[in-house]
């Protein structure tokens, strides 16, 4: 479905020097699978998503969508071809309502459909449809709306960037579960969930651990989850001593 080949990403550091954020990345996201992307903060997860969406431009390497080279396409063109990304930190808009943005996400979607997707992410449509995507919404509400847009859009590949962030503990599981259940047995689509959630990672089809701008470990949960989970936890908590190998080296 979507292939990253020898992807490097450089950005300008604070004092003008080049900083390499992604280093020779090779990933093959397949149809019909749900991927969990995890790893410590600053590892490069969001950068991978942004390179796929075209928000960041890779300094080297190619990206293929269903065999077509999309490396030089704009964000708009990639969106139109079937790539979708739910932002880790979605921006706010003055004067644009939730109904407006849902209609932009899926042109032609009727109100019944829009309402049902809002309900799916735990938002009562009556209370939210006309609300502004401005400063009046909490971080958790903004994240749910972001997620509802992508679920409604339902592109070939959907990338959810830490959908749990800012969402209250009780509903995290439900939201993440919704993504997994919707895409787990969908033979034509791919879902990528960037998450730290220990209950969700093991029920995905494939785990990717991203650390230091590369894939530090990859495999199906039954093969690698027991090997990597302690390392991930200590990395996330910044308590590791010595080199972390995620049980693979």
């Amino acid at each position: 479905m979507l292939e990253l080949r020898n992807i490097f990403l450089q950005v300008d550091g604070e004092s003008g020097e080049k900083v390499e954020i992604l280093k020779n990345l090779n990933i093959d996201f397949q149809k019909g699978k749900v991927y969990a992307v995890t790893g410590p903060n600053g590892g490069g997860k969001t950068s991978i998503a942004k390179v796929i969406m075209g928000i960041y431009r890779q300094s080297q390497g190619q990206i293929y969508l269903e065999g077509e080279d999309i490396s030089d396409l704009s964000v708009t063109e990639r969106a139109q071809k079937g790539i979708g990304y739910a932002f880790q930190q979605p921006p706010r808009f003055k004067g644009i309502t939730i109904q407006d943005v849902m209609s932009i996400a899926s042109p032609g979607a009727d109100l019944v459909r829009i309402r049902s997707f809002l309900r799916d992410v735990g938002l009562c449509p009556e209370d939210y449809l006309d609300r502004d995507l401005g400063t009046g919404l909490s971080g958790g509400e903004i994240k749910r709306i972001e997620m509802a847009q992508l679920l409604l859009r339902d592109p070939l590949i959907s990338i959810f960037d830490e959908p749990e962030a800012g969402v209250d503990l009780w509903t995290i599981q439900k939201l993440l579960g919704l993504i997994v259940s919707r895409y787990k047995h969908n033979p034509n689509k791919t879902a990528v969930v960037i998450t730290h959630n220990e209950k969700i990672i093991p029920i995905c089809d494939e785990i990717l651990v991203v650390d230091g701008g590369t894939i530090a470990a990859q495999g199906p949960p039954e093969k690698i989850w027991h090997l990597i989970k302690d390392d991930i936890e200590c990395k996330v908590r910044n308590q590791c001593q010595g080199e972390v190998t995620y049980g693979v080296k």
């Binding site: 928000i55 964000v75 708009t76 969106a79 990304y85 004067g95 932009i104 042109p107």
Partner: protein
């Protein structure tokens, strides 16, 4: 008298009216009143000096609307008018004003509207004024509205001013006096482009105990246009006032925003927020990731911002 297609189109752009309404009304075309009618609760007539209009809404009358649009199609006309609006005690009324200019010539078309508005005790007023200009040649379209409004005790007024493109030059002055427990909200939405200039100068005197004022300005400046926004709150009594000015700057346009707070009473609570900036890159990218082109994303953001 009937309005022709051009005149009717201009009328529609400033009032959203498809046909001439049946209620109280005054249509001023090229410096003359061409249609004028009163209704049982609203009298519409000439002022004592014969320089403009006097509109009076009867005390206690509710759900009343009066339209007072101005249309200019004759190039080179300098139109000046003095209008007085009195909203009677306890009344609840909507005044729909506005000016549409069509100028296909090289000459200047200009309308100066000088308004006095008195909102009597306990009355409620919603006043909207939309400006619209069009034309194919270099002839300038100039609008200089000036409004003095008095809000008597316990009265409420909301003024909404809208000018989206089309007007070359505008200098707006608004002065308000708010008495005890009176309340005023001013909303301005402005978009300038090319070489257009727009100035707005608002002075609000919070004269009475418990008076309250809110100014919300949303401005977009494109091309090489220039905008100057000044809003002063003068708190002379225990009162609450807030100015919020948000502007989006594009191309090589310039915006100057000068909020001023002047408190003469320790219990006057006056605040302002002002922000000028370009469209946030994150907002553009977000909308583009939903499939919009960059231009569509810009339009969507501006439309929302000015809504």
């Amino acid at each position: 008298m009937e309005l022709n297609k051009l005149e009717m189109d201009l009328l529609k752009s400033i009032t959203d009216l498809e046909t001439v309404p049946s209620g109280a009304l005054n249509i001023r075309l090229n410096g003359k009143a061409v249609m004028r009618q009163s209704s049982p609760n609203i009298s519409v007539g000439p002022n004592d000096e014969g320089t403009g209009l006097k509109v009076e809404i009867k005390p206690g009358a509710v759900n009343e609307t009066v339209h007072v649009p101005v249309v200019l199609t004759q190039p080179g006309l300098l139109d000046k008018v003095y209008n007085t609006f009195i909203v009677g005690e306890g009344a609840d009324a909507t005044i729909i004003a506005g000016c549409g200019i069509h100028n296909d010539s090289h000459a200047i078309s200009r309308h100066d509207g000088i308004h006095e508005i008195i909102v009597k005790r306990g009355a409620k007023l919603k006043y909207t004024e939309k400006h619209y200009g069009e034309g194919s040649e270099q002839g300038k379209r100039i609008l200089n509205p000036s409004t003095v409004i008095t809000i008597e005790s316990g009265a409420i007024a909301e003024l909404e001013m809208v000018q989206i493109r089309g007007v070359n030059d505008t200098m707006r002055s608004t002065v308000a006096h708010i008495h005890e427990k009176g309340s005023l909200k001013i909303i301005e939405r402005l978009l300038t482009q090319e070489e257009q200039r727009a100035e707005s100068d608002i002075m609000i005197y919070l004269d009475g105990n418990g008076s309250n004022a809110q100014v919300i300005s949303r401005a977009v400046a494109q091309g090489h246009s220039y905008q100057l926004f000044r809003a002063a709150l003068i708190g002379k009594a225990p009162s609450v006032g807030h100015v919020e000015c948000d502007a989006i700057l594009m191309d090589s346009a310039r915006i100057r925003s000068i909020p001023e707070l002047q408190a003469e009473d320790a219990d006057a609570v006056l605040t302002h927020e002002a922000a000028i900036g370009k469209i946030a890159g994150e907002q553009l990218i977000k909308l583009m990731s939903l499939g919009l082109t960059e231009q569509e994303a810009v339009n969507t953001i501006l439309e929302g911002f000015l809504r």
